[in-house]
C-alpha cells in the first residue's frame, strides 16, 4: 500500500514525444483508471511507472521515494499484462511462486502465500496445471494471482480484460473491483473501454495525444466533461456536438434553425457571436411536438432503449436515445432541455462554466 506521485513525467522515443508532461497523485488504496484511444500514451505511462521504460524527464515518486531510474525489480510493483504473460513451462503454482522464490522466501512461506492467494481466487484445484491447460478466464486469474501474491505497493493493469469474451469480461471486471477493494492496494488500470473505465475507477484520467485532459471521478467526467474530446469519448452513443454562437449578451446560445436556448446555469463570458460547440447526450434529447424536425435515418433497438440516428434539415446527423421502442413514423420532433447542455469554446474545445 502506498501513494504514487508523478511530477511532469515526459517520454520521447527519438524525436517523437509520446508524453508531454504528466502530473498525477494517487491516494493510498485508490484505483485510478487511465482511459484513452490507442496511441494516447496511456500504456507508455504505465510502462514508465512499472520501470519497463525510462522517462525522458520528470519524477515518479512511490511512497516518498523517487523510483524513476530504478530497475523494475527494485520498485515493488506488480503488473498484469494484456496477454497474461504466464511462464508457459511452469505450473500455476510455480508461476505464482516465481517472484517469491527470487526474493528468497522460505519454502513454507511461499507455499502458504501461494496457497492463500489461490484459495481467494478459486485456483486451488488448478495449481499443478500448466498455463496451456487453462481457459482464458483461468489464465487471467493466474495472472492476477501472480501479482497479488507478491503483496506489492502498487498494482498495474494493462488492459487485462481485452483478450476475454464479452460475458467473461463482465464477470472478471466485477471480480477485479471486489479484489482491489478487499486488498486495498493502490492500483492503476489502463483501458480503452469506457465501460471498464466508468465501473472500475475511483477516479478517471482521460488522456489524449500524450496529455492528460481530465482527472475526476467517473460521474464527474460524465456529467461535466472538461473538453469536447472527453465529451465525445465517454458515453455511448457519443455525445452530439453542434456548432452554435453566443447571443443575448452571453445568456443564450443560437444553434441556428431558429433554436435559441437560454443557458440554465447563467451567463458565459464573451461577446455575442463568439463561436461555441454545444454538446448534448443522446439520452438527454426529448421528444417534443413543438421541437425541431428530425428525419429518421437509422434505428438501433437495444432492447430496453432505442437509439435513433436522424438527419437535421442541413443533413447533419444527430443521435437520440429513447426508452423502450422507437416511435412510429419517418420523422420525429425533438428539443434540447436547457439544463442538459454542455458548452465548449469552439476553438480550444475547453468547457465554459
Amino acid at each position: 500500500m502506498a501513494t504514487l506521485e508523478l511530477y511532469d513525467v515526459r517520454k520521447s522515443f527519438g524525436a517523437t514525444a509520446v508524453l508531454h508532461g504528466v502530473n498525477l497523485a494517487l491516494n493510498d488504496g485508490e484505483m485510478l483508471v487511465i482511459v484513452g484511444a490507442s496511441g494516447c500514451g496511456k500504456s507508455t505511462l504505465l510502462r514508465l511507472i512499472a520501470g519497463l521504460e525510462v522517462p525522458t524527464a520528470g519524477r515518479i515518486v512511490l511512497d516518498g521515494r523517487d523510483v524513476a531510474r530504478l530497475d523494475p525489480a527494485e520498485r515493488d510493483i506488480a503488473m498484469v499484462f494484456q496477454n497474461y504473460a504466464l511462464y508457459p513451462h511452469m505450473s500455476v503454482f510455480d508461476n505464482m511462486a516465481y517472484a517469491l522464490k527470487i526474493r528468497g522466501l522460505s519454502r513454507d512461506d511461499i507455499a502458504r502465500r501461494v496457497g492463500g492467494t489461490a484459495e481467494m481466487l478459486g485456483l486451488g484445484p488448478l495449481l499443478d496445471r500448466k498455463p496451456r491447460q487453462l481457459s482464458g478466464g483461468q489464465r487471467q486469474r493466474v495472472a492476477m494471482g501472480r501479482a497479488i501474491v507478491r503483496e506489492p505497493k502498487l498494482f498495474l493493469f494493462d488492459e487485462p480484460l481485452s483478450n476475454l469474451d464479452a460475458k467473461l469480461r463482465v464477470t472478471m471486471r466485477a471480480e477485479i473491483k471486489r479484489l482491489q477493494r478487499r486488498m486495498g492496494v493502490t492500483s492503476l488500470y489502463v483501458t480503452h473501454d469506457q465501460v471498464e473505465a466508468m465501473t472500475l475507477g475511483d477516479r478517471l484520467l482521460v488522456m489524449h495525444q500524450g496529455v492528460p485532459v481530465q482527472l475526476a471521478t467517473p460521474m464527474e467526467v460524465f456529467e461535466r466533461p472538461a473538453t469536447t474530446y472527453v465529451a465525445g469519448f465517454i458515453g455511448a452513443p457519443a455525445m452530439n456536438l453542434l456548432p452554435g454562437v453566443l447571443c443575448q449578451g452571453g445568456m443564450a446560445v443560437d444553434l441556428g434553425r431558429g433554436m435559441v436556448i437560454p443557458f440554465a446555469d447563467g451567463k458565459r463570458d464573451g461577446v455575442d457571436g463568439r463561436k461555441l460547440t454545444i454538446g448534448i447526450r443522446p439520452e438527454h434529447i426529448v421528444l417534443d411536438p413543438a421541437g425541431m424536425m428530425l428525419q429518421i435515418d437509422l434505428i438501433e433497438p437495444l432492447g430496453s432503449e432505442t437509439v435513433l440516428i436522424g438527419r437535421m434539415d442541413d443533413g447533419e446527423l444527430l443521435s437520440v436515445k429513447v426508452p423502450g421502442r422507437a416511435p412510429a413514423g419517418e420523422a420525429i420532433r425533438v428539443s434540447f432541455p436547457a439544463a442538459m447542455l454542455h458548452v465548449f469554446d469552439a476553438e480550444t474545445g475547453l468547457r465554459l462554466g
Partner: protein, 276 residues
C-alpha cells in the same frame, strides 16, 4: 485417398527404403564373410552367422597402423560431444546477447556472425590451420574440436527461437525481479530445451562424421577418429581386409544411430513445435 494411389505411394516408399537399406545390408552381410572373397567381388547377400565374432575382434584388436576401433570410437564420441556441447553453449549465449541486449554495434555483431555462414571449415582450412599452429594446438584434442565449435547456424536458430518469445514474458520476468542470468536459467533455458535437443542431434552427427579437419590437424594416431581409422584400414602397404573394414563401418554407424533414435521424440518436437 483412393486405393490405387495409396498402392503407388507405398511402392515408391518401398523402393526408397530398399535403395537406402541395401548398402547397409551389404555392409552388415559383408562384415561376416571372407575378406578375400569380397576382394574378388564375390559378395553374398546372406550373412555368415558363424562369423559374428568379427565385430568383437575388430572392436578390440589393434587395427593396422593405429589403435583399436574402440579407442577410435571413443575419440570420435569425445569429439562429437565436445563439438555439440560447445556449439550449443556458445551459440546459446551469443544469440542471447544479440537478441535481448541493447549494446553498441549489436547488429554489426549479428551480421558478422551471420556472414561466417559462408565460411565453413573447408573454406578457411589453411588460415584456421595456421591459427591453431600458432596456438600450439596441432595434434591436440582442443585443436581438433575448437575450430568446429563456432557456429552461425546454431546462433541463428537460437535467435529465431528467442524472437518467438513474447516481449511481455521478458517484462513479466523483469517485474518479478529476475536478473539476466536468472532469466536465462529459469525462463530461456527451459523454453528452448526442445530446440537444444534437436540441435544436439544434428551437431552430434556432424561432429561424428568430421573427416577433413581431423585428417589435417591430428596426425598422432592417438587422436585418430573412427572415420579416419576406417580410411587408414583401406589400402596402405598390406592387403585390405574388406570384411574388417565393413565391420568397423557397422560399428561406426551405431553411436549416431543410437543418438538419433533415443532423441527422436525431442528432435521432432524441437524442429516442429512452437508452444511459446
Amino acid at each position: 485417398m483412393k486405393p490405387h494411389t495409396d498402392w503407388l505411394a507405398h511402392s515408391i516408399l518401398c523402393t526408397g527404403v530398399a535403395l537406402f537399406v541395401l548398402p547397409l545390408w551389404l555392409l552388415l552381410a559383408g562384415a561376416t564373410q571372407d575378406g578375400g572373397a569380397i576382394a574378388r567381388g564375390e559378395l553374398s547377400f546372406v550373412p555368415d552367422l558363424r562369423n559374428l565374432g568379427i565385430f568383437w575382434s575388430v572392436l578390440t584388436d589393434r587395427a593396422p597402423g593405429g589403435s583399436p576401433v574402440w579407442r577410435m570410437m571413443l575419440v570420435s564420441a569425445a569429439l562429437a560431444l565436445a563439438i555439440a556441447f560447445g556449439k550449443i553453449v556458445i551459440s546459446f549465449l551469443s544469440a542471447y546477447a544479440v537478441s535481448f541486449f541493447r549494446f553498441p554495434f549489436r547488429m554489426l555483431c549479428f551480421w558478422t556472425i551471420f556472414i561466417t555462414l559462408m565460411l565453413p571449415v573447408e573454406v578457411r582450412i589453411v588460415p584456421t590451420y595456421a591459427v591453431m599452429a600458432n596456438f600450439g594446438l596441432i595434434n591436440s584434442f582442443t585443436g581438433l574440436a575448437m575450430p568446429l565449435i563456432a557456429s552461425a547456424t546454431a546462433t541463428l536458430l537460437f535467435r529465431q527461437v528467442f524472437l518467438m518469445i513474447p516481449d511481455e514474458l521478458v517484462e513479466a520476468a523483469r517485474m518479478d525481479g529476475a536478473g539476466p542470468l536468472r532469466f536465462l536459467r529459469d525462463i530461456l533455458l527451459p523454453l528452448s530445451a526442445a530446440n537444444m535437443a534437436a540441435l544436439f542431434v544434428i551437431v552430434f552427427v556432424y561432429g561424428w562424421n568430421q573427416y577433413l579437419w581431423p585428417l589435417l590437424v591430428a596426425t598422432d594416431p592417438k587422436l585418430d577418429t573412427i572415420v579416419i581409422g576406417i580410411v587408414k584400414m583401406i589400402g596402405g602397404d598390406t592387403v585390405t581386409d574388406w570384411n574388417r573394414v565393413m565391420a568397423a563401418a557397422v560399428l561406426a554407424l551405431l553411436p549416431p544411430v543410437l543418438v538419433v533414435v533415443l532423441m527422436q521424440k525431442w528432435f521432432v518436437k524441437g524442429l516442429t513445435e512452437g508452444d511459446k
